[in-house]
C-alpha cells in the first residue's frame, strides 16, 4: 500500500528545512532555497513533487490557541460499531472539532473540542452528549501544553 521512496540528500535536506520553518516574507521560498543551496525554481518544483507524492502534507501557519483565549478538551467516548458512521458525520461537520480518531480501546472514538470559554465548551459538550448518546463519555480538559511538534527524522 505505501510506496517506498528513496530520497536523494537534497530532497531530505529540503524536507528537513521545510519542517524547521519558513520566514514570513513576500518570497519565503527564496530564502529557503538559498539555505538549501539551490535556485528557488528548483525548490518549488521539488516541493510540489513532495506534496504530490504526499510526503509533505502541507505548509501552514500554526496558531497559539491559548493566546487567542481558546479552551479545549479531549473527549473519549464509547460508540457501538454500527453507529460509528453516523457519529462520524455529526462530528466531522463541526468546525470546533479538528481531530477525530478511532482507537483500540473501550473508549473507541477520540476527538478534540475547542471553544471561546469554559462555559461554551460545557454547552457544546452537553449538546454533543445529547446528540451522540454514547454509552460512555469522558472529557479531559487541557490544562497545559507541554509539546506540540512533530519532528520526523527524514533519513
Amino acid at each position: 500500500m505505501s510506496k517506498k521512496y528513496y530520497l536523494d540528500d537534497l530532497m531530505k535536506s529540503i524536507l528537513s528545512k521545510t519542517q524547521q520553518g519558513l520566514e514570513i516574507s513576500a518570497e519565503p521560498y527564496k530564502s529557503l532555497a538559498k539555505s538549501c543551496g539551490i535556485e528557488e525554481r528548483e525548490l518549488i518544483s521539488r516541493l510540489k513533487w513532495l506534496k504530490k507524492e504526499k510526503l509533505l502534507k502541507r505548509i501552514n501557519f500554526s496558531f497559539n490557541t491559548k493566546k487567542l483565549g481558546l479552551v479545549s478538551t479531549l473527549i473519549g467516548c464509547q460508540i457501538p460499531e454500527e453507529k460509528i458512521k453516523t457519529t462520524r458525520e455529526i462530528i466531522n461537520n463541526r468546525q470546533n472539532i479538528s481531530h477525530n480518531y478511532l482507537r483500540e480501546h473501550r473508549l473507541n472514538m477520540w476527538f478534540t473540542l475547542s471553544a471561546r470559554s469554559k462555559q461554551e465548551l460545557k454547552f457544546n459538550l452537553d449538546e454533543l452528549k445529547k446528540k451522540l448518546k454514547p454509552k460512555e463519555i469522558v472529557s479531559l480538559p487541557t490544562e497545559k501544553l507541554y509539546k506540540l511538534r512533530l519532528n520526523l527524522n527524514v533519513n
Binding site: S2, S25, L56, F61, N100, L102, H105
Partner: protein, 161 residues
C-alpha cells in the same frame, strides 16, 4: 485583543495552507481585500505577539515510515521514580517520536493526567517504550493504538475569534 483585520488574517490562514509558488501571499491578500505588504506586516505582527507559532512544513508520518501511532495516557500523579518535570522533559519533550504532550484534568473513569501521541515504526516499538518508561508508575499507562483517522484538520479559527 486582536484587531478585526488580524482576526480575518488568522481565520484565513487557519483554514488555508501556504501556496507553493514564488509569491504565495498574493492570492491570500486579494481574498482578504488587502495589499500583500499589509498582509505580511500583519502576519509578522501576529508572529511577534506569539499568536502565530510558526510557518512550517508538515510531513506525512505514514509516508516517512512512521506507520504506527498511539495515544498514551499516563498518570503522573502516581509517578514514584524521581522528579516529574524532569521525567516529562527527558521522556516526552526530548523524544522526537512524541509529537504531542498535554497535561489534562483526569476523569474518574479515565484516571490519567498526561497525554502523549507517539509515532513509531512498529507496535513493538511503542509497547517497548511504554514498558520501559512506564515502570515507575503506580497506575499502568494506557496505550490506545490508532485504528483510523476520521478527521484531521487545522482548527478553523474563523468561528472562534
Amino acid at each position: 485583543m486582536l484587531t478585526d483585520k488580524e482576526k480575518k488574517v488568522a481565520g484565513y490562514f487557519s483554514k488555508n495552507e501556504l501556496e507553493i509558488s514564488p509569491r504565495p501571499f498574493t492570492k491570500a491578500a486579494a481574498a482578504l481585500l488587502m495589499q500583500e505588504e499589509e498582509l505580511i506586516a500583519i502576519l509578522n505582527k501576529l508572529s511577534q505577539k506569539k499568536i502565530i507559532k510558526n510557518l512550517r512544513g508538515v510531513l506525512n508520518h505514514k509516508r516517512a515510515g512512521y506507520a504506527k501511532n498511539a495515544l498514551i495516557a499516563w498518570n503522573m500523579d502516581g509517578f514514584t521514580c524521581g522528579n516529574k518535570d524532569e521525567f516529562i522533559k527527558k521522556t516526552f519533550i526530548d523524544d522526537d517520536r512524541i509529537s504531542h504532550c498535554y497535561k489534562r484534568t483526569p476523569h474518574k473513569s479515565f484516571n490519567y493526567d498526561t497525554f502523549t501521541m507517539m509515532h513509531a515504526k512498529s507496535v513493538k516499538e511503542i509497547r517497548n517504550f511504554v514498558n520501559e518508561k512506564g515502570a515507575g508508575f503506580r497506575i499502568k499507562p494506557a496505550v490506545l493504538f490508532t485504528r483510523k483517522e476520521l478527521k484531521k484538520e487545522m482548527l478553523s479559527l474563523g468561528s472562534l475569534l
